[in-house]
Symmetry: C2
Subunit: 206 residues, 2 copies
């Protein structure tokens, strides 16, 4: 692409570094900003800088937070003995939106992935084991995605937790609510039969 | 969405104001920036501010430019008598990339669209007519999109140009190169038959 303005070229290049945004989209976004009042661009770039400079991680659960301890960890209503292990803060938001979980979280900050060069030492695993060591937790719920890497990560942490007397569980895999049986993939369907639950339990849970 | 950080919420809201970017994508982009070094966010927000503050429009053709006169308008190689009317600067870039046009441009900055409240007075039409009035142009090529609004805009400008002795033309509508006839819509196909060109001309142009 030939740009008539160096400033435009520079802005497009920077925007195109964002994931999922190509040069064409970046150009569309840059031209959109040019059509808007100057204040909008200022607000946007200030919000980005403020986010990057100011945001902190909760010292306990590694969730994003504006304070040293996040709202969930500092809430007296949450059960600190029940720990839900998630990959990143989007998962915290997703589970919080269900309103079904009253425990606290532990954000790993990723999953073990040799392909992408992410090893256990790059994740917040040591602090999780520490919590277990100090007897702070009764139960750990693994709530990672249903992928190979996530299973590896689950198993790695599970092994480290065995010396301590901690109940471990993983979120249920099965047919999503509203899905039709015939379109479900066979691995999920197979697992959902093996992991069947008493009918009475399914009624009380819904 | 419940955010654990006000800074994150603010950044997501600002990003989601961009066209085609929803809250989920905005969150993904914000979290991406957080995983990158601080410098990246700084470069991005500086590039955006610099673009919005510093960019100028060419005083002659209204193309984006860092100088009062853009590179195309100030080039001695370009034919200033041949004027190509386009909607916005993306069209200038698209035509420049073909390398087939040696004239100069006139960027309207939009098209007449009563639905979106864009009238002729919102576009760079007066300066175009002025150029015609002062005898600066021999031929005007209309290179707007093939939409109803674009046709209206073409016709509006065409009417204003009739008092002056200026050749007007519009870019050819027809079957895109590489397309199959049976999949072409009938309006395009019909137009391409009406606007057929001598075979010899088609050979010399390709």
């Amino acid at each position: 692409m030939d740009f008539s303005s160096k400033l435009l070229e520079n802005a497009v290049q920077e925007i195109a570094l964002l994931p999922g945004i190509g040069k064409r989209t970046a150009l569309r976004l840059a031209l959109h900003l040019l059509k808007q009042p100057k204040e909008n661009t200022e607000l946007l770039s200030k919000a980005l800088t403020a986010l990057r400079e100011g945001v902190k991680f909760c010292s306990n659960c590694h969730n994003l937070s504006d304070h040293p301890l996040c709202e969930i960890c500092s809430s007296p209503k949450r059960d600190k003995k029940l720990l839900c292990v998630v990959e990143d803060i989007r998962d915290v938001m997703a589970i919080e939106n269900t309103g079904q979980f009253q425990g606290v979280y532990h954000v790993l900050g990723g999953i073990i992935s040799p392909m992408e060069g992410v090893g256990p030492q790059d994740l917040n695993i040591a602090s999780l084991i520490n919590k277990a060591k100090e007897g702070e937790i009764d139960e750990v719920i693994f709530a990672l995605s249903a992928t190979m890497e996530a299973d590896t990560t689950n198993f790695y942490i599970y092994k480290l937790l065995t010396p301590f007397e901690i109940k471990t569980s993983t979120i249920a895999r099965g047919i999503p609510v509203g899905d039709e049986l015939e379109y479900t993939d066979e691995v999920t369907l197979g697992r959902s039969i093996l992991a069947r639950i008493p009918f009475e339990a399914s009624i009380s849970k819904s």
